[in-house]
């Protein structure tokens, strides 16, 4: 690397870091990690050597998503991106024990002494365990780290009472309660305040949350303190919790989630000023007021007299310090404690002055116990300015209400709170669009992207669609709740978001699907005549062919006019290769094949001189077949019991599997049996794009099911179902849709997922992108396919039943019909003559295509590389 010398006079030293070189970060939680990431990305001149000293043995992980570990997510998925080891020295499991500010050195547990020029304390908080009798007994745990999660799991597995008590009904308490519930324990939550989540919610919102949590089987005790933990006379282990109202809850597992305390011991011992209620006192730049070489970020920092227990302000502090370390002037913008989350499946949001502490503030409340929604807006005394709000149940208004805090209300508060009749989740409240927001309004709270930044990305940088906006600004790449707002910004800037398929149809694929379903039209000619214009093209013809095939699976895709609609591969039920020959991929369900059939594949390949290769989908590809050879090849294959593998179609391909419990010593379920069953059930299903699946027989996941459109992973209790994964250009892990399903529920859920996708996805949109564009995302999908929220499950089930009943092997359909066989000839006037324009060479004992090297082809290649 060449060091770039800063121009003369630009390197004015900044106090405390004039000769700075060595940065030591104490703590590798989310905020410490963010600080290192921010500094590393901006410090292009490599001014800082970074050392991170971490207490935990794991590198930084997403603590906010801790509870997902109980929903089948592996802890590795929580890991935050690794730092560049060449840039950052990360020492795990070696906590700092003392700061020597005079010597500018920190001491670690392993005895190391690490010198610093600047020191960042990112030590976070520890759970507060109230000093009650028995609170330290075995069976009393806390909920903060992955180690805690392991302890809770182990305790739950060994629980004799099958009951658990959580002390604390705030955010963490409810997360812990959900975890215990998922572990199968009868769970109680004890909260001193009159209602749950007293920090974020008011009484009305808290009451509704309490009721909904209760409906999930968690018993809530509010307005009640904890007197102590009863312990076993002999073992000393917890046996129950006694409440201040005299109630005794028998339980051998107690989780304390009664708040956190900043871990400021190092700072205290080193003589740094700490706040009244703890935390390292810092100024607006997050710098210690005692020692300019020391900074504090995250939950250990005391800003304006208080510490903040949310990750968003922690990130803002990390960004501030990273900027300052490089000589910038950034200041901590102040705490935004607005939050929107789901607790036990209940949406909760709180923003601005939620408790109406502003003098004269008015509260407008819409409390609908029937619909189980509660909304409150806090407005100024003249009812013109929004000050804050609380939403429970339906939080879809949050993305647009929150940026309005401090601005004039664009509509009557009661209108803004009214339930959304149209547009679904994320629709602007009360019909107020992004247009009603001030330019400075933050549209994406995950990445702090404002309306004017987004507008500029559209007008100045030419972002013409949502994906472009996402990659340009990062907006919408977090929780995704602002995606509808991004669409509105594009519309407001006059960018046409056309969903028209092509010049022949003004409709989207999903609209055409509905038109076909409603009218019963079965031909492209009629569809284009009645609902489009012209004669079609390479975009709409295959799309309509796929819609027709999805709708009436009983009709062969090469019947009559349909043959001419099909794209390159479907046209001859084989995959066209670069030289105009074809590949043949017979179905091998679940990757399971008998030796006799394996031999048939070898014999066919040998007799027709085909190139053979094992595919990634656990089957065998035979390449280099001429068009006129396909029927003879398939006659041999179908005689041996093979069927089309649909490798050529936008259809279900393979269901990959591991050997599962039949053979594997780790397998907990019969993954091959299920994979074969699913592949046979869905074979021939035509979709907007190809569909790949996998079944793993245990959590080791050897079938790579999470990289599939639908993936199934065995659990001790049944099957976890993941959806929306793919490899390819933009790899994406499938997301957990449902856990521990029994066989019949699993199959029914996949049926509905597939049929909903087929009905509503865009042309060539795989399930991952479809899920991303689905308003309401995974939650909406879950509601539709598991709870029948749209009342369409009977239709979806019937559609799949029709598909299963109608399935016939496509290749057999060709072999039995002379009209279709006529398509498989080289020349209409010389049917058996091999095309002289196709020839082969031999490489590694197998045939490979010979390039004819057309001058035009060469010229085109040259043009495209210029």
């Amino acid at each position: 690397m060449t060091r770039i010398r800063p121009p003369e006079g630009s390197s004015a030293p900044h106090p405390g870091t004039a000769d700075a070189r060595r940065l030591v970060v104490v703590g590798h939680g989310m905020v410490g990690h963010r600080l290192v990431e921010a500094l590393d990305s901006r410090d292009t001149q490599r001014r800082w050597e970074i050392t991170v000293l971490a207490e935990e043995h794991r590198p930084a992980y997403d603590r906010v998503a801790l509870s997902s570990c109980f929903e089948g997510v592996d802890e590795s998925a929580l890991r935050l991106p690794e730092h560049d080891p060449g840039r950052v020295g990360l020492r795990l499991g070696d906590p700092v024990t003392a700061l020597d500010r005079a010597a500018r050195t920190v001491h670690t547990a392993s005895g190391a002494r690490v010198p610093y020029d600047a020191l960042v304390l990112a030590t976070g908080s520890r759970p507060f365990v109230p000093p009650l009798p028995g609170a330290e007994a075995p069976g009393c745990l806390v909920y903060r780290t992955l180690d805690d999660i392991e302890d809770i799991r182990a305790a739950a597995a060994g629980s004799a009472t099958g009951r658990a008590v959580v002390v604390g009904g705030g955010l963490l308490g409810l997360e812990a309660a959900n975890a215990l519930r998922l572990l199968g324990l009868t769970t109680h939550v004890v909260e001193l305040a009159p209602h749950l989540m007293a920090v974020q919610l008011d009484e009305g919102g808290g009451a509704l949350l309490g009721r909904m949590v209760g409906e999930l089987g968690v018993t809530v005790h509010t307005g009640t303190g904890t007197r102590g933990v009863a312990t076993h006379a002999r073992t000393g282990a917890a046996t129950g919790v006694e409440l201040t109202d005299g109630t005794f809850l028998e339980s051998d597992l107690v989780v304390f989630a009664a708040g956190v305390r900043p871990r400021d011991e190092l700072a205290r011992d080193a003589g740094l000023q700490v706040g009244e209620r703890g935390g390292v006192v810092v100024d607006g730049a997050c710098r210690s007021v005692t020692d300019p070489r020391v900074w504090a970020v995250g939950e250990v920092a005391c800003v304006e007299g208080r510490t903040l227990g949310l990750v968003a302000p922690g990130y803002a502090m990390a960004e501030t310090v990273a900027d300052r370390l490089l000589g910038g002037e950034a200041a901590f913008p102040g705490a935004d404690t607005a939050t929107r989350l789901k607790l036990l499946g209940v949406g909760v949001a709180s923003f601005g002055d939620a408790h109406a502490t502003t003098p004269g503030a008015l509260e407008v409340v819409l409390n609908d116990p029937v619909a189980a929604t509660y909304g409150k807006l806090v407005v100024s005394d003249d009812a013109r300015t929004l000050l804050g709000g609380i939403l429970v149940g339906d939080t879809s208004g949050y993305p647009l209400l929150r940026p309005l805090v401090g601005s004039l209300l664009p509509a009557d508060p009661s209108v803004l709170l009214a339930p959304q009749s149209e547009g679904g989740a994320g629709a602007p409240p009360g019909g107020v669009g992004v247009a009603g927001l001030p330019d400075s309004a933050q549209i994406c709270s995950c990445h702090a992207v404002t309306k004017d930044e987004l507008t500029e990305a559209v007008t100045e940088q030419g972002c013409a669609d949502v994906p472009a906006l996402k990659s340009c600004t990062k907006a919408g790449t977090g929780c995704g709740s602002c995606l509808p707002a991004l669409k509105q910004i594009l519309e407001a800037a006059g960018v046409e978001q056309s969903t028209a398929l092509c010049e022949h149809f003004d409709h989207s694929r999903a609209e055409l699907f509905e038109i076909v379903a409603a009218t019963g039209i079965t031909t492209f000619s009629r569809l284009v005549a009645e609902h489009g214009r012209g004669r079609g093209c390479d975009v709409c013809k295959p799309a309509v062919a796929a819609i027709l095939a999805s709708r009436d699976s009983g009709t062969h895709i090469l019947d009559g006019e349909r043959g001419g609609l099909q794209d390159t591969n479907d046209r001859h039920l084989a995959n066209m290769q670069r030289n105009g020959t074809y590949s043949v991929v017979p179905r091998v369900p679940g990757g399971e094949i008998t030796p006799a059939r394996l031999i048939v594949l070898g014999e066919v390949a040998r007799d027709f001189g085909l190139y053979t290769k094992i595919t990634g989908g656990q089957r065998i590809d035979l390449l280099g077949a001429r068009l006129e050879e396909l029927p003879a090849i398939w006659r041999r294959l179908t005689d041996a019991g093979f069927e089309s593998g649909h490798a050529y179609g936008k259809a279900v391909r393979t269901v990959k599997s591991c050997v599962g419990s039949a053979w594997c010593r780790y397998g907990v379920q019969d993954s091959v049996g299920l994979a074969v069953e699913l592949e046979l059930r869905y074979r021939g299903l035509r979709a907007p794009h190809k569909l790949k699946a996998g079944v793993s027989g245990c959590a080791r996941e050897c079938a790579e099911a999470r990289s599939k459109d639908f993936g199934i992973i065995a659990t001790e209790q049944g099957w976890n179902l993941y959806v929306g994964g793919n490899g390819g250009f933009t790899p994406r892990h499938a997301e957990l849709l449902a856990t521990d399903l029994d066989h019949d529920t699993l199959v029914r859920t996949i049926d509905r997922f597939l049929m909903l996708y087929i009905r509503t996805a865009d042309r060539l949109q795989r399930t991952a992108a479809w899920l991303e564009s689905l308003e309401g995302g995974l939650d909406h999908l879950r509601a539709v396919v598991l709870d029948d929220s749209l009342g369409i499950c009977a239709d979806l089930d019937a559609a799949m039943a029709r598909h299963v009943a109608d399935y016939r092997d496509e290749w057999r359909g060709v072999l039995e019909d002379p009209a279709k066989l006529a398509r498989f000839t080289s020349f209409v006037n010389a049917p058996g003559t091999p095309d002289p324009a196709i020839s082969f060479a031999v490489e590694r004992d197998q045939p490979v295509p010979v390039d004819l090297g057309l001058p035009a082809a060469r010229a085109a290649a040259e043009v495209s590389t210029r």
């Binding site: 010049e503 022949h504 000619s525 012209g534 004669r535 079609g536 093209c537 390479d538 709409c540 013809k541 295959p542 006019e561 043959g563 001419g564 609609l565 794209d567 390159t568 046209r571 001859h572 066209m576 670069r578 030289n579 105009g580 006529a822 080289s826 020349f827 209409v828 006037n829 010389a830 003559t833 095309d835 002289p836 324009a837 196709i838 390039d851 004819l852 090297g853 057309l854 001058p855 035009a856 082809a857 010229a859 085109a860 043009v863």
Partner: protein, 122 residues
């Protein structure tokens, strides 16, 4: 075009071609043409070699229209060609050879090549 009378080659009966789909036919000189019969009865014959890949696959393209002009889109690189002129819409320097077509007693006949394109291999 020369002044000599064109030579016509009979290829196949009209009903060997399904509407709006292509089929390949072999010419006496060993080259192939892609024959297309449109739904309105219009006939077209173009060279079957895809100039972008060198593969003999134009006959397997999807037939349609662009703003009312009949076209075929090749199956490999998805370049689109006007059926009447052979002109490639994506690259004006590329043209497929085009042959005159006529129907004689229900039999499709084509003439020798009508446009000559130097960039193509015979």
């Amino acid at each position: 075009m020369t002044g000599a009378a064109p030579v016509w080659t009979a290829l196949c009966p009209l009903d060997a071609l399904p509407a709006d789909q292509g089929r390949a036919a072999l010419l006496p000189d060993g080259t192939a043409v892609a024959l297309f019969r449109l739904h309105g009865g219009e006939l077209h014959a173009l060279g079957n070699l895809d100039p972008f890949s060198g593969a003999p696959v134009i006959c397997h393209g999807i037939v349609g229209d662009r703003a009312g002009v009949p076209v075929v889109t090749g199956p490999l690189g998805k370049q689109t060609f006007e059926l009447a002129t052979g002109r490639c819409l994506e690259d004006d320097t590329v043209r497929l050879p085009v042959h005159d077509v006529r129907l004689t007693g229900g039999v499709i006949e084509v003439s020798a090549r009508r446009n000559t394109v130097e960039t193509l291999v015979g």
